[in-house]
């Protein structure tokens, strides 16, 4: 149902459109970063690094718009949740884009070194992260709380692939110490992609909160076990 005061609806719409734009931009950035890694495309990587400021500008817009709506409209109930969630989601999107830009930056180094085999698994991890980000943003913008909740499970898949990749990279480094430099960069990029999954999960939880007014209660069990690799915990 629309508000009696139409300009309030217009302001909330501006907020939503700002998030959609920002989310779309972050998706593009992440997709381009993965493509730059896969094709060893340094020009594309440089463009990703340069365009990160556009996502930052998107976040500033959301921040300003949010403060304005809070001050002038004193929103309550679902309006309040929409405004507060927008503020937090924009922060999550900014982090996602930042991690994508960092992956692009590392690809510049990788492109000057001989290719290493685990790159294929890394690309797979990147595609999973990208898909998750897309689906989560869709569920947020379409107010689909149930879908958002179900997407949290997908982050688990991402964590599993990350843990496997971690082991794979370790194996390569042990076999051939000359791969340690590229593999270290790969390791950081993999960690970035895994973090992107966490930010996507946060957006899914905010989508659920925005629609239902409830926070996602139960703590998701973490199955990224890479923190324990190398330790004898038996």
């Amino acid at each position: 149902m629309p508000h009696i005061v139409k300009s309030f609806d217009a302001e909330l719409r501006r907020l939503e459109e700002g998030l959609a734009r920002m989310g779309g931009l972050a998706e593009t950035q992440l997709a381009a970063a993965i493509e730059a890694l896969e094709n060893r495309d340094s020009d594309l990587a440089a463009r990703v690094m340069h365009d990160d400021s556009r996502v930052d500008a998107g976040e500033s817009f959301i921040n300003e718009q949010t403060v304005k709506v809070l001050a002038l409209r004193a929103p309550v109930a679902d309006d309040l949740r929409t405004v507060v969630a927008a503020l937090k989601v924009s922060g999550e999107i900014e982090r996602i884009a930042d991690l994508a830009a960092n992956a692009a930056k590392r690809s510049l180094v990788l492109n000057q070194l001989p290719p290493v085999a685990p790159m294929r698994s890394l690309i797979r991890l990147g595609r999973l992260a990208l898909e998750l980000v897309k689906d989560v943003l869709d569920s947020y913008l379409s107010h689909d709380a149930e879908r958002a909740l179900s997407l949290r499970e997908r982050d688990q898949e991402l964590d599993d692939v990350y843990s496997a990749l971690f082991r794979e990279i370790l194996t390569y480094m042990m076999e051939d110490p000359r791969t340690i430099t590229p593999c270290s960069h790969l390791m950081f990029i993999a960690k970035n992609l895994e973090r992107i999954g966490d930010h996507a999960t946060n957006i899914a939880e905010l989508a659920y909160y925005r629609v239902t007014g409830k926070t996602v209660a139960e703590e998701r069990t973490k199955k990224d076990v890479s923190s324990f690799i190398g330790a004898d915990l038996s």
């Binding site: 005061v5 309550v76 109930a77 409830k214």
Partner: protein, 254 residues
């Protein structure tokens, strides 16, 4: 919810042939502020007036159902005597309505009526205490014998609160007490409500959503003579359970 100071069960009010309130059940928690919100004509003021039998004086008003104060019936053959009831359940109205008497006599009016204090030093103490608790003492202590109608609107409203609390009621009903006041006077009344909560149970009808959010611990939303939703104020304003409540408080109604 904490213990109920007052309760209503199947409380209904007819004005002539018109049903203004339809079987309302509500518990008024002791020592808290309960805000009644809802569009004009929703029954919230009618409900408020049932709590101290103010509707008795309204031509053609018929009240049915139960109201209790500390578990004792307010209406019916076993009901509390209305004069005593109104001493225990005081009221503050929308427009400040001090009597055309001195500030002193305004506050002393109730204690005199109910014989609560002897003239002289004892009454002076009662008047001072009422004005102090209403946050008005410092402003009027040098002109206690000037007319109560001669002070500002915000001061008049605090004088009415002083008059209401001078007889030590247990419950204070407020019917849009700030709607005729500027934001500073409103803030002073809201601060006062927060302080009074320690000693009194307060029920406030307000058209200002933000005021309900600021001053109350519990909020009840009335619509077409019924309670649609009642809950902790924080819950009602962040995640209302009912669509109608959400529509009203966010300004999407109608």
């Amino acid at each position: 919810m904490p213990d109920a100071k007052m309760t209503t069960r199947r409380l209904a009010v007819h004005y002539g042939g018109k049903l203004a309130l339809k079987e309302v059940d509500l518990d008024i928690p002791a020592g808290d502020v309960t805000a009644l919100i809802g569009p004009s004509g929703c029954g919230k003021s009618t409900f408020l007036r049932c709590l101290n039998r103010m509707n008795d004086t309204v031509e053609g008003a018929r009240v049915s159902g139960e109201v209790t104060l500390d578990g004792k019936p307010v209406y019916g053959p076993d009901g509390i005597d209305p004069v005593l009831l109104r001493a225990r359940v005081g009221m503050v109205f929308q427009r400040p309505n001090p009597f055309p008497k001195s500030i002193y006599d305004n506050v002393a009016f109730g204690p005199r009526l109910h014989g609560l204090a002897a003239e002289g030093e004892e009454m002076d103490r009662v008047v001072r205490s009422g004005l102090e608790r209403a946050g008005l003492w410092a402003e009027v202590k040098d002109r206690l014998h000037e007319k109560g109608t001669g002070i500002s609107g915000g001061q008049q409203q605090r004088l009415c609160i002083a008059r209401a609390i001078a007889i030590e009621p247990e419950v204070i009903l407020m019917d849009e007490p700030c709607s005729a006041l500027d934001p500073i006077a409103t803030a002073k009344i809201e601060e006062l409500i927060d302080e009074l909560r320690e000693n009194f149970t307060i029920v406030i009808v307000t058209h200002s959503m933000q005021q309900a959010a600021r001053v109350s611990q519990f909020t009840a939303f009335f619509h077409l003579g019924q309670i649609i939703e009642v809950g902790a104020t924080e819950q009602v304003f962040t995640a209302p359970r009912n669509e109608l409540t959400q529509g009203y408080i966010t300004g999407r109604f109608g």
